[in-house]
């Protein structure tokens, strides 16, 4: 049973950090066997160098064309973000996604693009989607999240998850170490213990009863 959720404030994490070192540094004295360390997917991605300055992206014709179709408040409404999505998932799969989205539209269904083109594309945060100093960056989803949680478990002895949580209670667990009850954990993260994006608490330790 979870007896407490401890948001962990860290320094501003950049691509110079190793995520496992960061987690160990800030939770080594706090989390033990049985506890769960939850890490926000955005910082995992940032440490992997996946925060991209849009000025460095040269969108092709396809990206310029396709970015007109998704919702304007979504994450792929700019040519640069669409270009990165194409690079992430490959041109054929993007086309399959577009075809699915078109069919979905006729059927009055939403979300078919991501279901076909890849769930990982929902993790792309367009500019202004992340806290300072990354407000000018497009942030891709993290790579190999399973490897990250396994390394965190090795280093700390605690269970670990990489998760995407937002203020409206949507919780997505990207990867979890093998001792975790995913369903119970989603409920515990629905109140977004990470706080809003300027609180600099990308790690939460869920303490279990001893």
């Amino acid at each position: 049973m979870i007896v407490g959720k401890i948001p962990i404030r860290t320094h501003v994490i950049t691509e110079k950090d190793d995520i496992v070192d960061v987690v160990f540094k800030y939770t080594g004295e706090i989390a033990g066997p049985g506890d769960v360390i939850a890490v926000a997917e955005t910082v995992v991605a940032i440490t992997q160098g996946r925060a991209i300055l849009p000025e460095t992206v040269r969108p092709g014709t396809l990206a310029k064309f396709l970015c007109r179709f998704p919702g304007k408040d979504g994450s792929l409404a700019t040519p640069q973000a669409m270009h990165l999505a194409i690079t992430e998932t490959g041109v054929p799969r993007i086309f399959l996604g577009v075809a699915a989205a078109a069919a979905g539209k006729i059927a009055g269904r939403k979300g078919d693009f991501y279901r076909v083109a890849g769930r990982h594309l929902t993790l792309i945060d367009d500019v202004a989607g992340t806290m300072w100093p990354f407000q000018r960056h497009i942030i891709l989803g993290p790579k190999t999240p399973q490897e990250v949680v396994d390394r965190i478990k090795d280093a700390t002895g605690a269970e670990a998850v990489v998760t995407d949580v937002n203020d409206i209670g949507n919780v997505d667990i990207l990867a979890a170490s093998n001792g975790i009850d995913g369903k119970a954990l989603i409920k515990e993260l629905e109140d977004n213990p990470f706080g809003n994006d300027d609180q600099q608490t990308p790690i939460v330790v869920l303490k279990m009863a001893e």
């Binding site: 407490g4 800030y26 409404a77 407000q135 001893e210």
Partner: protein, 306 residues
């Protein structure tokens, strides 16, 4: 065992609490266990000294800039003692509450009545630019200036209402109102300040940042513009595009006038920022802080009671 380890400070955060009965800044220090502490005053600043507790989080300042608290600094004075200094912009009364649990939370409530006092009896006219057929600037994706400035103006109005200041908007909806009518409203209503809310439009989509226009040859308008711009930049951390005098407000004799260009809507990163309700709120807070600072520093208000 966990409970026998030395308590560690894991997080410090603050929030402005606004309700009908209360108006204060709540500063919370979270730790993995309870420890002995004392809270006292050093000048205007409030200092919490904890014994037998260590910092788990980075030491140093955390920016707050909420108009009352400028920053909160964590410092390890000895290996087993930590000091939390709340740097204040104005003096304020406080009380402390602790709650058990994991984490243990020590909360310091700071009264914001000084800010209310500074704005007492003032009448502020907020002018969200453009409206109706006049859409103003356009973002590269789809946002329109007339819509986003209204959202920011509404947030700003809320902040003034909270301190019982008298506040008016030149438009509440998507209406087209000629500029001379807006200025006339300031005169007719005998407003103390005229605050225009706009975004900048530039042919170069790389140009971005915050600028403030002010009524040319008005010392008060220039002072106000400087403070509003500085406080906005502290909040939004955008490029400083400077201050510009403008002759178009000359008809408003005796009323300080500023026109805030919060961001450049034509910069597509900044258009992205304008989609976020949090950003509208922070922009409003920056403008509000600049205005309260103006009243805290102008001669007529130096003797405001605390």
């Amino acid at each position: 065992m966990f409970s026998q380890k030395q308590p560690r400070i894991t997080n410090i955060w603050s929030k402005v609490i606004e309700s009908d009965e209360a108006y204060f800044t709540k500063v919370v220090v979270e730790s993995t266990g309870a420890y002995k502490y004392s809270v006292g005053r050093q000048g205007n600043d409030i200092v919490l000294i904890g014994a037998g507790v260590v910092a788990n989080m980075p030491t140093g300042p955390i920016e707050v800039n909420d108009g009352l608290v400028s920053d909160i600094t964590l410092h390890e004075s000895r290996p087993d003692a930590a000091t939390v200094t709340i740097h204040m912009e104005h003096p304020a009364g406080y009380r402390v509450e602790s709650s058990e649990g994991i984490p243990v939370r020590t909360a310091i409530f700071l009264e914001r009545s000084t800010i209310a006092g500074l704005l007492q009896g003032k009448k502020i006219l907020i002018d969200p630019g453009h409206g109706g057929k006049d859409v103003g600037g356009k973002g590269p994706v789809n946002l329109l200036e007339k819509n986003v400035v209204l959202l920011i103006a509404n947030e700003l109005e809320q902040l003034f209402r909270q301190v019982d200041a008298s506040v008016l908007l030149t438009r509440k909806g998507d209406e087209s109102i000629p500029v001379h009518n807006r200025l006339k409203m300031a005169k007719d209503e005998r407003a103390d300040l005229f605050i225009g809310i706009h975004t900048h439009t530039d042919n170069n989509c790389k140009v971005g940042g915050t600028a403030v226009l002010y009524k040319a040859s008005s010392r008060e308008s220039l002072d106000l513009a400087k403070l509003v711009k500085d406080e906005l930049i502290r909040k939004l951390k955008l490029t400083d595009r400077g201050l510009k005098g403008s002759r178009k407000f000359a008809v408003l004799e005796g009323i300080p006038v500023v026109e805030v260009e919060v961001v450049a809507i034509t910069n597509w990163v900044e258009e992205g920022l304008l989609r976020s309700p949090t950003f509208h709120k922070r922009a409003a807070e920056g403008i509000f802080n600049g205005i309260t600072k103006y009243y805290a520093t102008t001669d007529g208000n130096k003797k405001v009671k605390v």
